[in-house]
């Protein structure tokens, strides 16, 4: 049987009094676009650091493409590309020098063709001979992505890659990452932009306080927290006890949950019959943010 792209088994990590990870089990299959979500301090970056060999787990095992990250670290690290969360760079070098060095660290002496391809895909060719210090934040972020890809790793981990990146650049980055995924690369993404995770990820794990509190396909998570909602603003307030789950937000808007669009007409007619007059109306589809909040509050 083929080993999963990432296999995490009973991984625990403690920093002093803080239990960063408390027995995490997780498997990411080859070719997946996988989301790792959670609030700040949930343990996402700790888990990624253990995966990358930057941190050592107190207990449990982690393998990348079947290679244990401790006992078979060389093969594991060759299989993994990590885009770190912090905007780090070496101020001594140009973009091309940084990429050539990163290739060399991974054992690749002549890699210029692939480096040029990455630079072109990330719209960095014109900056190839620019010193890293002179790049904008967004450009530096793209170089970090390029550095993670120089050794053509089958598994790519992006730790909040679009933090502080403008919309155009973000779109370009996702187009490229999608292309990589289509070519067979496994992608693991952590992000605070839940709409990105919802659009891109096939499966999602949610972490809270160092534990996996939800692990399912994106579609199932959205279905489980089936949160279609009708938001209406009424001309004058009326009692809404006859609409189960209706919630007044205190700013003139009322949110009414429903399960299928066929119910909308009935809800509106019941409001009308009770003397209510709808001035504005918004229909909300289920979104990952609601699922996320539901999981975090329910867990």
């Amino acid at each position: 049987m083929t080993a999963p792209a990432i296999a995490v088994s009973a991984v625990a990590k403690r920093y002093g009094a803080v239990q960063a990870l408390g027995g995490v089990d997780l498997a990411v299959q080859r070719g997946e676009f996988f989301g790792l979500l959670g609030p700040n301090g949930a343990g996402k970056t700790t888990l990624i650091s253990i995966l990358a060999g930057l941190t050592r787990a107190d207990a449990g095992t982690v393998a990348v493409m079947g290679h244990d990250v401790v006992s078979d670290y060389r093969a594991a690290r060759l299989s993994l590309g990590v885009v770190p969360q912090e905007l780090v760079f070496d101020p001594f070098f140009t973009v091309r020098e940084a990429l050539r060095m990163q290739s060399g660290y991974f054992g690749l002496a002549r890699n210029d063709d692939w480096i040029d391809e990455i630079l072109a895909n990330l719209d960095l060719l014109h900056k190839a001979d620019t010193n890293m210090r002179s790049l904008s934040g967004g450009m530096k972020r793209r170089v970090l992505v390029a550095q993670a890809l120089v050794h053509r790793p089958p598994v790519i981990v992006l730790d909040e890659p679009t933090a502080g990146v403008d919309v155009e650049l973000r779109q370009g980055l996702w187009t490229f990452v999608r292309k990589l995924n289509e070519r067979g690369h496994t992608i693991v993404l952590t992000t605070h932009y839940l709409e990105e995770a919802e659009t891109l990820c096939h499966r999602i794990a949610m972490l809270k306080a160092g534990r996996v509190v939800a692990l399912d396909t994106t579609a199932n998570l959205l279905q489980r927290f089936n949160t279609h909602a009708l938001r209406v603003r009424l001309a004058t307030p009326i009692g809404l006890d006859f609409l189960p789950g209706a919630r007044d937000d205190g700013h003139g808007w009322v949110e009414i949950p429903f399960e299928s669009y066929g119910e909308v007409e009935d809800i509106l007619s019941r409001i009308r019959l009770t003397g209510g007059q709808v001035e504005e109306m918004v229909l909300g589809a289920p979104d990952l943010e609601k699922a996320f909040v539901g999981v975090m509050h329910g867990a």
Binding site: G53, T55, V88, D90, P91, M101, Q102, G104, L108
Partner: protein
């Protein structure tokens, strides 16, 4: 298809990166320490050359040059590893060398060799700058090479330890100012320890830097305060100890892989 990789390429690239790092700022990392050493040479030789001879017949300026050269080698080897590591730790760019599959031995060898490279470059610079002022014999060139390499390797290892241990620049500065600098200054760079009172001679014998400089100086004059074999023994023991300690820290990932 996965590209073909070679483990030695990682070591060679890291070595190249460390060499390029200091070379890109060579005005600060090479020219400035050469100038400092030459200023020491001009001032001390001007004041003392007519009044002091060492080993019976060696003029003071000639005696001083090997000491200054070795001091430069040692200080710059330390500065190279320690500053590289603390900078990359503080900026976070250390992650670029921690993510790839570079072994801890290759990591150690690359940092130490690059530091020796910088130390030797500065040392040669000091010699070249001093040649117009002094007639420098070469009694035993092999000893010169042995002590320059061993001294550079010891201080490079020391620099790795300090760079990994320190969390802030001022902690590293304390290491440099309160340990490296006094040990260097009190090692006989500027004097023969035979000119010291007996007690201080004994104290000097406890300073490993003294053996590095004394053995190095033997290579030029064929004379020294202690036998070069004794110096070599002490220096070798120091290197073995520090290399072992540094490799152990790197293997455990001390302060690098939390």
């Amino acid at each position: 298809m996965a590209p073909e990789t070679h483990p030695l390429t990682g070591f060679k690239t890291l070595l190249y990166k460390e060499l390029l790092r200091f070379w890109k700022v060579s005005f600060q990392t090479v020219a400035a320490p050469v100038l400092t050493a030459v200023l020491y040479l001009l001032i001390f030789s001007h004041v003392l050359d007519r009044h002091v001879t060492v080993y019976g017949n060696v003029p003071y300026t000639a005696f001083l040059v090997p000491g200054l050269v070795m001091m430069s080698v040692l200080q710059n080897a330390f500065a190279n590893t320690s500053s590289s590591l603390i900078q990359s730790k503080i900026t976070g760019s250390i992650v670029f060398v921690l993510l790839p599959p570079i072994s801890y031995r290759a990591f150690y060898a690359a940092y130490v060799l690059a530091a020796i490279g910088r130390g030797l470059l500065v040392g040669v610079g000091v010699i070249v700058a001093a040649l117009p002022f002094v007639d420098l014999p070469l009694a035993a060139p092999l000893w010169i090479a042995v002590f320059a390499l061993a001294g550079g390797a010891i201080l490079a290892s020391f620099g790795i330890i300090a760079g990994i241990w320190a969390d802030k620049f001022d902690q590293l500065a304390a290491f440099q100012n309160f340990l490296i600098m006094p040990l260097t200054m009190l090692s006989g760079v500027f004097y023969s320890i035979h000119s010291l009172p007996a007690v201080w001679q004994q104290v000097s014998h406890l300073n490993p830097f003294f053996y590095m400089i004394d053995g190095f100086r033997y290579g030029f004059f064929g004379q020294s305060d202690v036998s070069p074999w004794i110096s070599l023994s002490v220096v070798s023991a120091c290197f073995a100890l520090l290399a072992g300690l540094t490799l152990n820290m790197l293997a455990r990932g001390y302060k690098l892989r939390a």
